[in-house]
Symmetry: C2
Subunit: 215 residues, 2 copies
DNA sequence: GCGTTGTCAACTGTCGACAGTTGGCAGTTT
DNA sequence: AAACTGCCAACTGTCGACAGTTGACAACGC
């Protein structure tokens, strides 16, 4: 028997709402009506309120007193500010990964990169799924649960800002190269280089998002 | 007219509870009884539950399904893990501060250091208040609101783990020296050195906390 | 005596209803 | 016509009560 991840209605509501916000099913700028959504989910307002507050603490909703909860819409400045935090966290994670990684970690990282290459040669664009997988594997190798958790939250907010999933081929290629270079640095246990490459990588991704937002 | 910072009962409850948790008025390991605390605060369980959930999201309470909310007690491993996150954030902040600081920022940093020295010469121990002020001024100079917010949250959790406010003179002296050196690096705009010194500083503070916890 | 099972009180999870606030609209005034 | 004022509907903030679960204690069997 698989025990449900969240027994409580509030927990389930968090999962459902998070999904709807991240996929854009609830579009940026729109308001979350408590009674309406509660009815739609088949629960009462109490648990739903808790779910809304939880998502607000994750930055996926903004609360306005007596007005309700809104899905924040993308602001270019916000992207930059968010990437400052993400860079701080992921560079540190890259350093830690370089000094703590096991051989199994290395195999996993290489596997993700290999799959990206196969995907690319097959003419497919670089799926965001594999990019997420790479960064997540990196975080596992860093073995710092708190940093990993914070990165998860930041990445979520980044996803929220990704108005359009970009398929720019040059960006795809550059990202894969960055990933490969990161794996090499981690393999060598070269923390300084891992941090440097990660910084360059994220700076590139950030710039790419900024330009795609301003269009 | 000063508009109240929190009109809602939930917001007020958050402030009161946070204070009580951080000061140890609600001791680590103890449970927060919803009905009891709600009566004591003169509010209903609804807003109190939201407050509890909020503090849990800040890491000041841990939630156990069907059991309630507990104040987490200090675990040495937790200190180490927490300082990994704090180091990642504050080193990045130090780098940013070194490259973005204004002259006014510099004056403020020097003023905090000077006050620490005056305090020290007067035979007073290094008050935690001034240490907090220093790091906060540093964060202001970094001008990265997201990093600053995360540091605030982590520092809160660190305070929660400070079972006893230590007055070790040697530690006091070393910390003041670290702060001075940080200010110099920031003054020179030397991001790399600022990061290095901050890392050493936090590593020292962490070690000091670990030993004081194991006693 | 020790482990097991049944019972129970306490507490959390959830719900429906009431009160207070907000933004918008119609009516009025100049 | 523009601005102001008063009202109104919709929604959030809050409350008290009910239902389900948990851990503990007591009674029982071995």
């Amino acid at each position: 028997m698989t025990p449900p991840l969240h027994l409580s209605l509030a927990g389930q509501a968090v999962d459902v709402l998070r999904e709807q916000v991240l996929t854009g099913e609830i579009p940026p700028g729109s308001r979350v009506n408590e009674v309406e959504v509660a009815q739609k989910l088949g629960i009462s307002r109490g648990p739903l309120r808790e779910a809304i507050r939880h998502l607000a603490s994750e930055g996926l909703l903004t609360l306005v007193p007596h007005r309700g909860a809104f899905v924040p819409d993308a602001a270019p400045d916000e992207v930059k500010a968010l990437f400052e935090l993400r860079t701080a966290l992921e560079c540190a994670a890259a350093e830690l990964a370089a000094s703590r990684r096991t051989d199994l970690d290395l195999v996993r990282l290489q596997e993700v990169c290999a799959e990206s290459r196969r995907n690319y040669r097959a003419g497919q664009p670089f799926p965001y799924r594999l990019d997420l997988a790479f960064h997540r594997t990196m975080l596992d190798a860093a073995r710092s649960p708190h940093i990993a958790e914070q990165v998860r939250l930041v990445q979520q907010r980044v996803v929220l800002l990704r108005s359009a999933l970009e398929d720019d081929p040059s960006h795809t290629h550059a990202s894969m190269d960055d990933h490969d270079e990161l794996v090499m640095a981690v393999a060598d246990g070269d923390a300084a280089r891992a941090s440097t490459v990660m910084r360059r990588h994220l700076s590139r991704v950030c710039a790419q998002m900024m330009t795609s937002l301003n269009r």
